[in-house]
């Protein structure tokens, strides 16, 4: 399992055989550079993975991060067409309606199973 630790403007990313998880806020200065290693790994992993789980728990993302996530979803769709059991789980804080809107936009765009789950804000 590889881990990219979160910063104030970039999310924590975990990736390995089980799948890929992105958690936090995503507005790095250059999203394409930030997501490049993840993208490269994902493209290779999806060539042979029989199943793949993507967990998105992103409370805020800028335009280019949105584009990167769309690219990731496209890779998953392609893998699904080759027979990979690819699934997406989108977690969002129940009060964060913007995050729900975004999830629904993403969900419309792809045909793989996409579940949207509200999470209660925990104690601080």
């Amino acid at each position: 399992m590889k881990i990219i630790e979160a910063t104030s403007s970039s999310p924590r990313i975990e990736y390995g055989e089980a799948g890929l998880s992105i958690k936090g806020e995503s507005y790095p200065e250059n999203s394409f550079v930030f997501y490049a290693p993840v993208f490269e790994w994902l493209a290779a992993e999806l060539k042979s993975a029989p199943r793949f789980r993507l967990i998105l728990d992103v409370s805020y993302m800028n335009s280019s991060s949105t584009k990167c996530v769309l690219d990731i979803l496209d890779l998953l769709s392609e893998a699904a067409m080759r027979g990979c059991d690819a699934r997406v789980t989108w977690l969002y804080e129940a009060e964060n309606e913007r995050s729900l809107d975004l999830a629904e936009e993403f969900k419309e765009d792809i045909d793989i199973p996409f579940e949207i789950i509200p999470v209660e804000a925990g104690p601080r």
Binding site: S8, S9, E25, Y27, E29, S31, Y60, N62, S63, S64, K67, D71, D74, S77, E78, A80, M81, D111, A121, P123, R124
Partner: protein
């Protein structure tokens, strides 16, 4: 949209970067002589228009990212300021009220014990009157540091009002909260606050209240206030629970 109706997905050219590279290569390959073929000329025109639009879009996204980043940082700073007391950097009353509401909800749902301690600086008016308001501010700031060093990481400390501080102790019975409060009193009595008129000693009083069934947030605060009043009446420099 079903996958069958997305021919783009199975095209040999996938994704924006590949398409851009493909178009550039093709434009270079064919060169100027391709203009003689009207279909090729039209293709060329469209490809050039696409590449131009793609470049502009990349620029717009970069500009949009820049402003979104600045806006996000500004929003975060604003949210922090809205919940922080500027003098002591502790939570302010509004933040504490939200924390209390959340803790009350947890109590109702999971029956999780919690307590609060209402602290008040003894004879703070005398400090201000005798040493000036700067000294008073120094006392408040130093006391905030004592709280931060003495309280547990899970406790939340707020500047509730002028010289009143309300501390929320999650998962804590009134006996334990009393011990936490005594530690704060001890830590404060062990230190001197530096003022222009020389070091001065400060004492605190505190009232502890534990959450109870049937209580709402305001009942709990009222009880802590009553206990604080009892501590003052009993001679200050003490915690009453």
């Amino acid at each position: 949209m079903s996958l069958e109706r997305r021919p783009g997905v199975v095209s040999p050219v996938q994704g924006r970067r590949e398409l851009v590279a493909h178009l550039r290569a093709r434009l270079e390959d064919r060169g100027e002589e391709s203009l003689l073929d009207p279909r090729e000329a039209e293709y060329r025109e469209l490809a050039e228009a696409y590449l131009l639009l793609d470049e502009r879009m990349a620029k717009l996204i970069a500009i949009s990212d820049k402003y979104q980043g600045e806006l996000r940082e500004a929003t975060k700073r604003m949210q922090h300021m809205a919940r922080t007391d500027p003098l002591t950097n502790l939570s302010n009353r509004r933040d504490m009220l939200d924390c209390l509401d959340r803790e009350v909800e947890r109590f109702v749902r999971y029956e999780k014990d919690f307590s609060v301690i209402m602290f008040d600086i003894d004879d703070f008016k005398l400090v201000n009157d005798s040493y000036g308001h700067d000294a008073g501010d120094r006392v408040l700031k130093d006391l905030a540091l004592v709280f931060l060093e003495t309280l547990r990481r899970t406790d939340v400390c707020s500047r509730w009002g002028g010289e009143e501080f309300l501390v929320l102790c999650p998962e804590t019975t009134s006996e334990s909260a009393r011990i936490v409060g005594e530690k704060c009193l001890m830590a404060m009595s062990a230190m001197q606050v530096a003022t222009e008129a020389g070091p001065i000693g400060i004492t605190l009083s505190g009232g502890v209240a534990a959450m109870q069934k049937g209580f709402d947030r305001d009942d709990l605060i009222k009880l802590a206030d009553a206990k604080l009043y009892a501590a003052k009446a009993a001679g200050k420099k003490r915690i009453v629970d």
